[in-house]
Symmetry: C2
Subunit: 431 residues, 2 copies
Amino acid sequence: MTIQDLASGCKKAAIFMAALSADVKNKALSEIVAALYNHQDIIIKANQKDLEQARGENLDPPLLKRLKFDADKIKEACQGLESLIALEDPVNDTQKALELDTGLELYKVSRPIGVIGVIFESRPDALVQIASLCLKSGNAVLLKGGSEAAGTNAVLARIISDATMAAQLPLGWLGLLETREDVADMLCLDHYIDLIIPRGSNAFVRHIMDNTVIPVLGHADGICHLYIDKFADHDMAIELAVDGKCQYVAVCNATETILVHEIVASQILPPLKAALEKQNVEIRGCKKACGLIDVKQATKEDWQTEYLDYIVSIKVAASMSEALEHINTYGSGHTDVIVTNQKERAVSFMDLADTADAFWNCSSRFSDGFRFGLGAEVGISTNKIHARGPVGLEGLMIYQWRLMGKGHKVADYAGQNARSFSHKPLGKPFQ
Amino acid sequence: MTIQDLASGCKKAAIFMAALSADVKNKALSEIVAALYNHQDIIIKANQKDLEQARGENLDPPLLKRLKFDADKIKEACQGLESLIALEDPVNDTQKALELDTGLELYKVSRPIGVIGVIFESRPDALVQIASLCLKSGNAVLLKGGSEAAGTNAVLARIISDATMAAQLPLGWLGLLETREDVADMLCLDHYIDLIIPRGSNAFVRHIMDNTVIPVLGHADGICHLYIDKFADHDMAIELAVDGKCQYVAVCNATETILVHEIVASQILPPLKAALEKQNVEIRGCKKACGLIDVKQATKEDWQTEYLDYIVSIKVAASMSEALEHINTYGSGHTDVIVTNQKERAVSFMDLADTADAFWNCSSRFSDGFRFGLGAEVGISTNKIHARGPVGLEGLMIYQWRLMGKGHKVADYAGQNARSFSHKPLGKPFQ
């Protein structure tokens, strides 16, 4: 089967996925839970083979850890499925209801997008999570996982497909791609695929974004800033800098650059340096910062680097405007924080920062679907359209306009005795 | 100035556009009204020069009519601006408000997208309309109009820029592109431009969609269907077919293909043919249709053609499923209508039709921003993400997450004595 055949089948299945009731979808998710438990041995065996090969290829221990899919991980994945079942059905939610004229009712109703292409890293639990998010939202999905997990992924995809077919889901709603060439083929299939969600390294996501006309949801970089205003509480600022940088360095919402207002720089920089160095953070400062504390000098490269490590860059800014210009130039529109005691300055910062998540007096690390209470996280987006910041199931949704008439013709609303529109809110959902 | 310089300046201006108050924006719109009236002579003179040249190049009369921008058209444009001033500010609308924990408040707030690139046909009124929609929504805009209107557009863009600068709008918020090469350059500037809106012929819009990684909002084709179910009221069905096809043939929401359930085809086709031919509509039928009425036979080409003319194709479908398969194969996801007396069949049709506007017992011609009560229309979209169907100002908006804390750190929500999140609706807007 070519990738085009697979995608074409997926598009056909998407039509029927979109029409499934919440009950059928939740039943299918339950079937997946049962099937994962029932086939634990096969899954673990396939995963051990992947692990063996990975060890033979001297994969890094953190990568091996992520690749591992044992009984505990299966249990975790099933718990994730159970909480997804408990979520409300995101399909057919009425977003607007308007009477256009007597007996002519317009509804804006949430609907699945269609076919989602997801390319993800070598974590087999990601396959279960992504497939189930697409199912719950009534979408069909084409999946491509990391090659190291190919054996585990093949087994998981087959188990999920079989389990959901038994629950009356349409054949082909879940397709598995196997090679890099398959991905290249997929990026050309804009006729069949409605949205691509790439997960992985910056370079990889950027590559996907630059090589397809299919809309892409995601983020390449996460260069997050913490701006310490001249009216900041110094202790709070230092604590937020340490939390943003050190609480977990390897993630996209970690703070990478700290901006300090010039007026308070000489007071804040020494204790900030001490606090960061206590956590073994290497500091790279702008010229002005280097004049106040003894740190390595930052280059332009530093301002545009997502370290994902115990390194931070510090810049002294002459004003909030200069800090914002730096953020809007070098930032990635992910998460940017201001520390200040003045609310109007915080709101002005939010208005002027071109960023998905604008925070005031809290850590950049809060930028996360779970912490935001989204129920399930599809990913984090730095897009300027559709969905921005942490994206829940609503990121997999679009809407349909539904107009219900009684034989209404447009000719009656034109010319001499034209009827006019009432445009009156209906205050009731589509049903 | 290169297009890159223009776009880079536009992006800088977009930051400040996004922070403008409703008052400043409405004041700027009023200044445009005054300036258009004050400079009527200059505008009309420039337009007459464009018209003269167009006549010299033997442009079609309908094109000349659209190109004309006289005192009446200026008045119309100004009336459009006045009604835009009266609309609510779409910026900073609170879409969600959630307490994450005591003193840690999350808001989802509507925000402008940033830089919009709009390529439009040879109608100078389109320039005024698009520029003002972008202004009202706090976006910056790069415009490219039809080359026939180049002189008028240059004058209009200068008048609008000058008027809005006097009202404190940032320099460069409106940029005018002049050549086709400029457009090609613009399509590569994904670093500066957040959304492209192309208006014009199918081939043109398709060309834009295929040649940029910048998100595109719009529609290429408008192949709209009317499906007459076996449970349809025959008179209503025929009236809706005539209205959908004939009320205005040259528009994207006109009906191009009529599908008739086989069981009622022999009863409906003869009077349908008579009614359409009375309006001088040429009919092209599938084999089965040709067996029941004397019409020209349709080819595959017909099913995928947006006639925009007094021509319609008719297909007899063995079932609603077959009709839906035809719609989902050949349709453009614009507007598709079912005529039936059974509500559950109508809802099933809506669930299974992969289309922006799914209508029941009314004309496809209702698919329009004004008729839908959107206040202002940005365009009609067949996209599967961001905005679908008739798009109002909300199509020029995205949102920002705003988190307001009191020094909250993520470290406190991890480990042994982790605090938990309350995720409690706040029931108040961001302010």
